[in-house]
Every structure is written in structure tokens, then in C-alpha cells.
Symmetry: C2
Subunit: 161 residues, 2 copies
């Protein structure tokens, strides 16, 4: 879905642009927000960082269970909710009415998603400013965020002619 509140983005202290966060960086974010650092959460974060593509909660739960079958379902859902609220994870629309999580990167991003394999390519360009100002003026809405993304077929998923 990539609802990006215009001024907000995950805070990775000192992270390079385009660098994916690592486990301890995300744990620092949790800490900073008053959450504790636990073994189940570490396992979940490690599993998240293993994902090459956007993932659903169910998909992640299965992957987590491969690492630790005793880790509770509720813990996975609870952790996803927290990481989503902290903007460590954001959402992309992968099909009409279906969204999935991706690891957030610093800065304002949107995604180009492959409808074949599910790959999500982030990009930073965002041509909505002028339109947003115009809509604010004409409708008197207080605009909070926007959703922008492209769906297509990546080179690897295109039929060879």
C-alpha cells in the first residue's frame, strides 16, 4: 500500500541511503520506542530480513516456524503490528485488494512491484507535490499521506518472444 505519511519515515540512526537495516538496528528502534528486546522478536526480525519479496503475515509466520516451530502465532502478529507502527515495515499493494509488508528504507520511497514473482523495487521519485497542493486548495481536505506505486512484470518474469 505504501501509505507514506509525507514527513515520516523509519529512523535508522546513521544509516546509509539504500542500506537495508540489520537486526540490531531494528532492535534499537524497538528500544527507542520503549519495547523490549526478546529472543522471539529477534527470530522474527531475522526472518523478515531474509525475505527477498513483500510478504504477508501468514507467509512470515510459516517462515518463522521453520526457524522455531514453538514461536507463537500471536507473537508474530503482534510484532508485525509494532514494526508497522514504527515504520520499520511499510505496505505495498501486490494485487487488487491485497497488500504485503516490505522492509522500509530511509527517506520517502515508493515501489514498482512485479505481478509475477512479487519483487518490489523501491524508488524515490515522487511527482505528486503540485497535484497535492492543488487538491488541498480545491477540496479543503487536510491531506496526510499518499499512495503511489506501479505494478508490472519484471524482466525475469516476461515471456520470452
Amino acid at each position: 500500500m505504501s501509505v507514506s505519511s509525507t514527513p515520516s519515515s523509519p529512523r535508522y540512526p546513521g544509516a546509509d541511503r539504500d542500506a537495508r537495516p540489520d537486526v540490531s538496528t531494528i532492535e534499537d528502534v524497538l528500544h527507542g520506542a520503549g519495547y523490549r528486546s526478546t529472543r522471539p522478536r529477534r527470530t522474527i526480525i531475522e526472518t523478515i530480513l531474509d525475505q527477498a519479496h513483500p510478504f504477508t503475515p501468514e507467509h512470515l509466520l510459516a517462515a518463522v516456524h521453520r526457524a522455531d516451530p514453538s514461536l507463537g502465532r500471536a507473537t508474530v502478529y503482534r510484532t508485525l503490528e509494532i514494526l508497522g507502527a514504527l515504520d520499520v515495515l511499510t505496505r505495498v499493494v501486490v494485487a487488487e485488494g491485497h497488500s504485503a509488508y516490505v522492509v522500509g528504507l530511509p527517506g520517502h520511497r515508493h515501489h514498482l512491484v512485479c505481478s509475477g514473482c512479487g519483487a518490489a523495487v523501491p524508488f524515490t521519485a515522487c511527482p505528486v507535490d503540485h497535484l497535492m497542493a492543488e487538491l488541498s486548495r480545491t477540496t479543503n481536505f487536510a491531506i496526510q499521506s499518499h499512495v503511489l506505486q506501479f505494478i508490472g512484470v519484471c524482466p525475469a518474469c516476461q515471456p520470452t518472444p
Copy 2:
């Protein structure tokens, strides 16, 4: 979600821009696609056209049952699926990970959605062409569609200062 395949939009023969379709217009669309015209479907379409805001399947089911409690749940879901596939209905993202249906209008549209009351204001401006071409070139994706929308608070839902 408003995944608008760039060249596609609902085909309402002779409809004015900005005119909402009526029941028989939508029935014509069904007919044209080889579907039959039935009383349950008419009830569902009437109920859809009564909705002032984007609606979920559950919300619609409840509204349909107010009109005809004997109308089957499966029929409502099946009809929504058909109308979605025919682009009579499209989806808007109403919150992180949640989308709802709106009646499609002719032409290429996106929406500005109120996070308070759920109102969806359509607009036709779409500033993505240049970016889309650039992304096609740099990534070699075959881009099929895009999602663009704004979320904010409508004038009526804004706190009075």
C-alpha cells in the same frame, strides 16, 4: 486501491463524464459480458448505488440483507467479484492494508479519501506518465498499472479551532 490499468476503464455507452451509472446501465455491462440479469443481482446493484462511501463486502452484505434478508451471502461476494473484474467497481485504500470498493466512473480516475468519514473524492489529474516512462526504461519492467491516491481529512471531519 485504485489499481487502474492505464488503458482500461468501465465502458458505459454514452455516459456523461462524472455521471454515476444507474442500475440498467450496469446490467447492460453484465449482459455485454455474457452474464444474466437476475433479481438478486438487481438488488445488489441498487444497494451498491445507494452507498455514499467506499464499502467493504461485509458492509454491503449487511445493507443488502436490509433490503432482502434471504439473499445469499455467496451471491453478494460473487457479484462483487464480477463487477470488480468488469471495472464497474474499483478499489481504494482506506487505511494501511485495508481497501474498499467504489463505483467506477468513466475515464482515468484516482481518489482522495477522508480517513474520518470514508468519503472518496475522485479526480482525473495524474502526474505519473513521465515517471512511468523513466521507470520502464531504467528497470525494464513492463508496467501494467499504477496506484495513486491521497488520504486526508475532509472539511466536515476537521476539528473546529
